[in-house]
């Protein structure tokens, strides 16, 4: 069974986000990127499934900044193959990215396609669902647990309030993963470096998406932070004293 895991890089929100001079995009010059955290969960779930049932985990990503490193990291964690889809995909919409990915993944004989349920940049929709529709495969999103038996998977999909729905789906199927059953494994940088030497990063030329998001950004702006909040500053002791007063007044 091939378990395909599309991953992507997104801006690290720990960094300060600034708007560029066009007023329509982030200033990306100094932006730090990291793998979408939900893609990390998808990869973890894929590795857990492989460990339990065998099969091959194939991490795949569209060409872009720092993507080689992300793919090597996936290899270091245990992905059997890492594939970069080459082409000029800078700034590509999710819909177009899904179409390009579908073109490549469709030829990989997928059993399961696991990817993050969402990312912080999904302006035009979530990759998992878009991808499923371009592949013509069934899908379930917001998945927190996957069990494979025979040609079927049993998945848990989370609703609000801690409620979970259980579905059974026949493979191949695309799953938007919210959380793996285990905390995504960590690999030290040394192991990633090792993977860079020992792993072949496959390159497959991607096609022309032929679709776009169908919309364009007219404006980017920061929400008012602290709009309503009264900010309390001073030494820890001062702040604590003021907070204590506020809290007592509310109780």
């Amino acid at each position: 069974m091939n378990i395909i895991v599309p991953i992507k890089q997104v801006p690290d929100l720990v960094e300060e986000l600034e708007i560029d001079s066009s007023g329509k995009d982030l200033d990306r010059e100094w932006l730090k990127y990291k793998v979408n955290e939900f893609d990390d969960h998808a990869l973890e779930e894929a590795l857990l499934l492989k460990e339990a049932h065998g099969g091959a985990v194939i991490a795949i990503a569209l060409d872009g900044d720092d993507i080689d490193k992300a793919l090597y990291a996936a290899a270091a964690k245990g992905a059997d193959r890492v594939v970069k889809v080459t082409g000029n995909y800078a700034g590509i919409s999710n819909r177009a990215a899904a179409k390009v990915l579908a073109g490549v993944i469709g030829g990989m004989n997928p059993g399961l396609v696991l990817t993050g349920v969402q990312s912080v940049e999904d302006r035009d929709g979530q990759i998992a669902v878009l991808l499923a529709h371009y592949l013509g495969l069934p899908h379930v999103s917001v998945v927190t647990g996957v069990e494979v038996s025979g040609g079927n998977v049993t998945v848990h999909k989370e609703y609000g309030g801690g409620m979970v729905a259980e579905f059974e789906a026949s493979m191949p199927v695309v799953l938007g993963v919210q959380a793996a059953r285990e905390t995504p494994r960590y690999v030290p940088v040394a192991r990633v470096r090792q993977a860079m030497k020992s792993t072949e990063l496959e390159e497959i030329a991607g096609g022309d998406p032929g679709v776009s998001s169908g919309s364009s950004i007219s404006r980017m702006f920061k929400p008012e932070t602290g709009g309503g909040a009264e900010m309390i500053s001073g030494s820890a002791a001062d702040v604590a004293a003021k907070l204590a007063e506020i809290i007592k007044s509310k109780m």
Partner: protein, 311 residues
């Protein structure tokens, strides 16, 4: 049909989700001469439309639609959207809606704008980057699908009832590849954070499980309960019953102290109606400060123990 606005109703266990009313209210504003059409799927669920403020309800009844199923619901909704060609379709950005919205986009070739918190004409505002940026999109034509974040619009405007309910046919739903098995209720037996008037809520800023006593001490001192953001639960440091937010519980305590929580939209959804919100976060740009009444940008490991001392 040119100006009609479709609203995809959402329900679970015989109860309509408030976001449906929120979207109906917004749709009325957007319809400009067209009709607000609520789309309701289910089995023997027609009665759920009783309170919909819509011009019309399209109701599809099928045993395959008795419980939400991404495949059956996706197919049915795409067939209705194709047949009726509404100008816009509003879908909730919820666990169900996330499956549906992108499906309409591809199957009916309509632009999708996700994480929507504002819609005006063919401009849709989205909350991106964990709530750190707002992005306004202009849709190329005037048809679009918007995935709407719950809590973005008032629900009252979408309530009223009196809509004509029209039965619509289900498409062929035989041979579904996804089957609904069962609903699993959340485990009980833990403190019920929805009942606690005081919540100290901890996020990833706490760094490790070993540091939890720092915030537990504050909860204990205040006689409140300890709740958390999702990553703390995913890491299994606290049980699922403590999670506040979209996929956790909605809470409305008198006092909510968010410690080391950034304020991602999925978290905000669960706590923004708290009477008093205090946020402690070292990042002055953290979105939580847009919702807090009082904010502190000091290190939690300094402030929280000091606060315990002062109480």
């Amino acid at each position: 049909m040119a100006n009609n606005i479709f609203v995809i109703a959402e329900h679970l266990k015989g109860k309509v989700d408030d976001v449906t009313y929120e979207m109906l209210g917004k749709a009325k504003e957007l319809a400009a001469g067209g009709q607000v059409v609520a789309v309701l799927l289910g089995s023997g669920a027609k009665g759920l439309a009783a309170d919909f403020a819509a011009d019309k309800v399209l109701y599809v009844d099928s045993p395959e639609l008795a419980e939400y199923n991404p495949e059956a619901y996706g197919k049915t909704i795409a067939s209705l959207v194709s047949a009726h060609a509404p100008k816009a379709v509003l879908v909730a950005y919820t666990s169900q809606g996330v499956d549906i919205a992108a499906g309409i986009c591809v199957d009916c070739d309509m632009p999708l704008v996700a994480y929507a918190t504002g819609i005006s004409g063919n401009h849709v505002t989205s909350q991106l980057y964990g709530g750190k940026m707002n992005v306004e999109s202009a849709v190329d034509g005037d048809r679009f699908v918007a995935a709407v974040i719950p809590g973005s619009f008032p629900a009252a405007a979408g309530k009223g009832g009196g809509a004509a309910v029209e039965d619509a046919p289900a498409p062929d739903l035989s041979g579904l590849k996804v089957k609904f098995k069962k609903l699993i209720e959340p485990a009980g037996g833990d403190v019920d954070i929805t009942q606690s008037p005081i919540l100290v809520s901890v996020g990833r800023g706490i760094q490790s499980e070993d540091n939890l006593p720092v915030v537990q001490a504050l909860a204990d001192k205040l006689g409140g309960a300890l709740s958390s953001s999702r990553p703390i639960v995913d890491a299994k440091w606290l049980p699922k019953t403590r999670q506040v937010g979209k996929s956790g519980l909605k809470v409305k305590p008198k006092l909510y102290i968010a410690v080391g929580i950034s304020g991602a939209p999925e978290h905000i959804e669960g706590m923004k109606d708290a009477e008093c919100i205090i946020a402690i976060n070292t990042d002055p740009k953290a979105p939580i400060f847009s919702y807090a009444h009082y904010g502190v940008t000091e290190d939690l490991f300094d402030v929280v123990p000091a606060l315990v001392d002062k109480l």
